[in-house]
């Protein structure tokens, strides 16, 4: 919970990680390239006082998540979006065991989504079933450009993807987070292409598709699709930190999203540990569209901010919203 001007805001961080990108876990230069790229994002867009040494950045421990996100971060509920990358790292980039443990140890505070890869065939489907029998899973993170043997990616519109999405729906997984951000391969027209989301969003109306990183660098294509499909959402991870370094640009981005998608389909995400959540949340609460841009984009109300920061994600994940926070009456507060 974060208080601003005497008002309380309920915070759901829709995009966090616990990872091991350390040298010891790197399989090859691809892994090293990946970790370094994340670190460049961190340094390039963090305020000076929020920068970490690489030794702290490259491997995240359970206690770091608790302190940085839940305690210091002011976040009420956070959701892990695992990035697997077994071709780059010995045990994968995400720390799977630790993520699940954190969820069990912090009930109601941390949600650990899983990941699947349609190229894993029947075995992957069985694994998904088993995992869902062991714990409640509401969301999955997909990385369509992930390397797998000779394959450099897949499309959500592939027949194999449909089998997995059907299985996900059957198992009660309803939130499909799709990474379409900075990625690796020119397959299928363009590795950043978001058009496959359009197909599956139409064919799976009961699933929600959250396009992470708001489809950057194809914001225009993403906005267009999200306008057509009522079950497509914008994940703000990576777009948020511009609020510090380029606030006028951030105004344009959030202004476009509000225009095309409306206030109910934008989800806050810090992308922890690339960035820590607190400063992003506070800057967002203090933020307003600059006056000379208000003719085009209007202004952001407290309710709109509350929706982005927590209420929208709470709705997707059935997270109870406490009474008394900004927008709680819209969210059907629980107590």
């Amino acid at each position: 919970m974060i208080t601003r001007d005497g008002k309380q805001y309920f915070i759901v961080d829709g995009h966090i990680h616990i990872w091991d990108g350390s040298e010891a876990n790197c399989k090859n230069d691809w892994g090293r390239g990946w970790t370094q790229c994340f670190f460049d994002y961190h340094n390039g867009l963090s305020p000076e006082e929020e920068k970490w040494p690489k030794s702290r950045f490259e491997k995240i421990e359970k206690e770091n998540v608790i302190k940085d996100v839940l305690e210091d971060g002011g976040v009420d509920v956070a959701i892990f979006q695992p990035t697997v990358l077994t071709e780059f790292y010995h045990s994968g980039f995400r720390r799977a065991k630790e993520g699940v443990e954190l969820e069990a140890e912090n009930p109601g505070r941390l949600i650990c989504n899983t990941a699947f890869d349609p190229r894993h065939g029947d075995k992957g489907l069985e694994d998904l079933e088993r995992e869902c029998s062991e714990r409640k899973i509401q969301g999955v993170k997909l990385y369509t450009a992930e390397w797998q043997g000779d394959s450099r990616g897949y499309s959500l519109a592939d027949a194999a993807s449909y089998r997995y999405l059907e299985k996900a729906e059957e198992l009660g997984i309803k939130n499909i987070h799709v990474h379409k951000g900075p990625t690796v391969w020119p397959l299928d027209r363009d590795s950043f292409d978001v058009h496959d989301v359009d197909h599956v969003a139409t064919d799976f109306p009961n699933l929600n598709f959250v396009v992470e990183h708001i489809g950057l660098p194809r914001l225009e294509d993403f906005c267009w699709i999200a306008t057509q499909e009522s079950n497509v959402y914008a994940g703000m991870a990576v777009a948020m930190p511009f609020i510090h370094s380029r606030p006028r640009y951030f105004a344009q981005m959030i202004g476009e999203l509000e225009y095309w998608l409306g206030p109910d389909k934008i989800l806050f995400g810090s992308d922890y540990a690339i960035w820590t959540p607190r400063w992003l949340i506070e800057k967002f609460l203090d933020f307003q569209i600059p006056e000379d841009m208000q003719g085009e984009y209007g202004t952001l109300s407290d309710e709109q901010k509350a929706k982005v920061l927590g209420l929208n994600a709470a709705r997707l994940y059935d997270i109870p919203v406490p009474a008394g926070v900004v927008g709680s009456e819209m969210a059907g507060a629980s107590a």
Binding site: D29, W30, V184, P186, L219, C223, F242, S245, R246, Y259
Partner: protein, 248 residues
């Protein structure tokens, strides 16, 4: 600080015309040109253009496209076959550098890519066209032109306003590149395929172009931020000294 070589300066000036298609800015301004090195002997110089990119994983299709454009631009100065491009810090650097030396096409090198670069280039040229057109529209807005009136303007009307830098020229050059009529009586505001915009589609057309511009701008900022982190010592000026009398 090495003295700028005149030939390197000429090459660099030519590279100012090579654009990053996802950003609509010259590769020189993006920091992608690390160094223009002159090798060979006097009168028989060849050029090595050292390139660097914001990420180890920058998409190979755009990477190939820009590296190839850089090679062609440099060849305008020193002649075909006299340019070597050396891309560093990229997961497919060897393949792309090799393709430049051997003259292999993108689809030769990346056999599983299903879109050729001409299609990609055309798609982004049309986006660029819409963005530049929208920037011209914004100037017209500020000059007090009624939004509905924009549809009635032809290119001669539009030429009567003042634009920052080379905005109008750049707009017209993309129009030419895409084969869209640039005669003075041609209608100004057209869709990416050159057809007129219907009055009831005007708002949607302009909002779409606007979000495209935001997207391009974001790409540019992200790339500049990352390349600065990656190569803080980045050299984007022609600092090479010619190696007189030595054979490369």
């Amino acid at each position: 600080m090495p003295v700028a070589d005149p030939l390197a300066t000429l090459v660099l000036a030519e590279l100012e015309h090579v654009y990053d298609p996802e950003v609509d800015e010259p590769v020189t301004q993006m920091g992608f040109i690390r160094e223009v090195e002159i090798a060979g002997t006097e009168g028989a110089e060849n050029v090595i253009v050292h390139m660097q990119l914001p990420q180890y994983f920058c998409a190979p299709n755009f990477t190939y496209l820009m590296v190839d454009d850089v090679r062609r631009a440099a060849e305008k100065v020193v002649g075909e076959g006299n340019v070597h491009v050396s891309l560093v810090g990229h997961f497919e650097a060897d393949k792309i550098n090799g393709a430049m030396t051997e003259g292999s096409s993108f689809t030769d090198v990346f056999a599983d890519a299903i879109e050729d670069l001409d299609t990609l280039r055309d798609r982004f040229a049309r986006k660029t066209f819409l963005i530049r057109q929208e920037r011209v529209c914004k100037v017209l807005d500020k000059s007090g032109i009624d939004s509905e009136k924009i549809l009635d303007l032809d290119l001669a009307d539009v030429a009567g306003f003042e634009y920052e830098g080379e905005l109008l020229d750049k707009y017209l050059s993309t129009r030419t590149e895409l084969g869209i009529d640039t005669s003075s009586e041609a209608p100004f505001l057209v869709a990416a395929d050159g057809r007129p915009v219907e009055p009831d589609k005007l708002r949607l057309h302009r909002r779409s172009a606007s979000v495209m511009a935001v997207s391009f701008e974001g790409n540019g900022m992200m790339c500049k931020t990352l390349i600065h982190e990656r190569y803080p010592d980045s050299t984007v000026h022609p600092t090479a000294e010619i190696t007189r009398g030595e054979v490369a």
